[in-house]
Amino acid sequence: MLKYLARRLTATFMVIVLVSISVFMIFSFLPMDPARLTCGKACTPAVVEGNRHRLGLDVPVQVQYVRFVKGIFVGRDFGEGAAKFSCPAPAFGYSFNKHECVTTLIAEAFPVTFSLAIGSFILWLLVGVSLGVLAARRQGKWVDKASTAFVLVGNSLPTFISGILILLLALKFNLINPIEMGRWVSPFKDPIGWASNFILPWMTLALAYAATYTRFTRSNVIETSSEDYIRTARAKGLSEKVILRKHTLRAALAPILTIAGLDFAGLLGGAIITENIFNLPGLGRLSIRAVLIDYDLPVILATTLLAAVFVVTMNLIVDILYAYIDPRVRVA
């Protein structure tokens, strides 16, 4: 197990390094010139050059990468002379658009995205799994049919439509405080404010994801129910409740863990559309604005890298959890 863990950790680390290098390369070789794009209104060649120096783009790309990696471990200085300042480690660069160390920006955006992700994750798991189990137990009954309808609607409604419809309905019926909408409220200071801020985006994401999970849970429960060991459990005289809880669900939900982990990781990287519809200052909005509006390279690099880290880390966590749940995997 330890050896397996070590091997997986190394592989994970390698993937992260690779992703960071390739993201760095991709954005360096783009025909976009951040120095020019952020040059401003009085843009002369001298200003562009000054800008390039300011952004640290006047050195070869490998030097830029080394500076970037070094910054992660020891921090990094920006500017010269009296205007010099530094971002402490782990420094992912400095956003000259937002006048803030990228690490700080991410640290501010992450709780928002995490709140969005965790809330909708719990909501869709609760709804999806319970609806799926219910539908599986009551095959062909109205619960099953209703859940099928729910699945179809959820699957067929892109979030950019459902999110906007939810927002517009909320506006129409004055369900939101418009001026406070999307503002970050710490759940530790004001849990109700926090939840009421996130309830619409949670619903939007949960609607889309819960559908998939309902479908998946239903088919897994039905499939598991026909397993021999469930028949064995029944032959032992166990009640249906115990069989479902202890025998069926554990086996049926194990594969869901894998998907859930990846979906959750994907959301942690930023739910771009939902965050933008509901004006949530999370990683998704940070990254999309960095790309489309500001062309803020340090932010783009950091958020992309972070998203990849979430995915590979979550992959690792899921594998470890899976080994915990399914003893057959452990020996491998």
């Binding site: 499939e223 999309i288 790309v291 992309t304």
Partner: protein, 324 residues
């Protein structure tokens, strides 16, 4: 579908119908009323999309023409429900005054085309790579496996948004295509690039287990070449998986295309797609709700019918899979 709880009496059912799997699938499919209906709806919309020039011509409409007379001084449609009239059955677009039906017909043509090409291409690629790696295993498998891990850990959506514009410039500079042609090519490229690993993984695991099955072993024992085994033994057994995957991914890519043009990195005006129409419609929701509702419904019906069709196909091809 009903639950045939035969436990170990498979032979009972097996002996009922002595037909080819394809015939069985077809019979099963025909029996699924929802499936048949959704197939009809899907075909209706697909035909609508590809016969758009004909339909609009018959109706005397054009997707590129503006109808200034349908708009008032502030470019809002005259009349009820977004200017629905005999000549404009779904109303007109506020602002520019194009016919909404024509826009949606032509828009769905782009969406269908992108979705079809992407689905087929990523399935083709995934199939090729999945079979090859699953069958030959070894070093190739390891390399491709790591590469697809790497791709899967990439934030794809975000990369598409970030790279769509510069890549389009590349495509145009190379003279492959221009404007929307280039944009569509870029979108297709990205969808396929990030889409194949998932399918390849699925196929790989199937090819992997099939490799150990008797009929492949038998073929190997008879000295059949790898090529022959792959084309004659593996492929025919994998095509149901491919069909099922196709039916699932088609509506997915259709919606994805809408999302990206909504985000402004897909197809652009003067062409029109669902994403463009909807992102525009959102600003008019108060004054012209029909303009938001009609295209939304149009898209939802298409995606819904394709989803239902996909379920029906899956049920027909794989009776063990229980559709949700």
């Amino acid at each position: 579908m009903s639950q045939v709880d035969l436990i170990e009496d498979e032979s009972a059912t097996a002996s009922i119908v002595q037909r080819t799997p394809r015939q069985i699938a077809w019979t099963r499919f025909k029996r699924n009323k929802v499936g048949v209906l959704s197939a009809a709806v899907a075909i209706f919309f697909i035909l609508g999309a590809y016969l758009a020039p004909l339909i609009t011509r018959v109706m005397g409409l054009s997707s590129t023409k503006t109808y200034p007379k349908t708009l008032n001084d502030y470019a809002m449609p005259i009349g009820h429900a977004g200017g629905i009239s005999l000549s404009h059955p779904l109303g007109v677009e506020p602002g520019a005054g194009r016919d909404l039906l024509s826009l949606l017909l032509y828009g769905s043509r782009i969406s269908f085309t992108v979705a079809f090409i992407v689905s087929v291409a990523s399935i083709g690629l995934g199939m090729l790579i999945g079979i090859t790696t699953g069958y030959f295993r070894g070093k190739l498998d390891a390399i491709v496996g790591r590469f697809s891990d790497f791709l899967l850990s990439f934030p794809g959506t975000f990369m598409i948004i970030a790279l769509a514009l510069p890549l389009r410039e590349r495509v145009e500079a190379l003279g492959i295509a221009r404007d929307n042609g280039a944009r569509i090519i870029v979108l297709i490229f990205f969808f396929v690039f990030f889409g194949w690993p998932g399918f390849a993984r699925l196929i790989r695991s199937q090819a992997f287990s099939m490799r150990e099955r008797d009929f492949v072993m038998a073929a190997q024992a008879l000295g059949a070449s790898s090529w022959r085994i792959i084309t004659r033994e593996l492929l025919p057994n994998l095509w149901p998986t491919a069909i099922v995957f196709l039916s699932i991914s088609l509506p997915g890519y259709l919606a994805a295309e809408a999302v990206f043009s909504f985000l402004g990195v897909g197809v652009q005006a003067p062409a029109s797609t669902f994403g463009l129409v909807l992102s525009d419609a959102v600003t008019y929701w108060r004054d012209d709700p029909a303009y938001l509702i009609i295209p939304s419904m149009y898209l939802i019906i298409i995606v819904l019918s394709l989803n239902l069709l996909g379920d029906a196909i899956r049920d027909a091809l794989d009776p063990k899979a229980v559709a949700g």
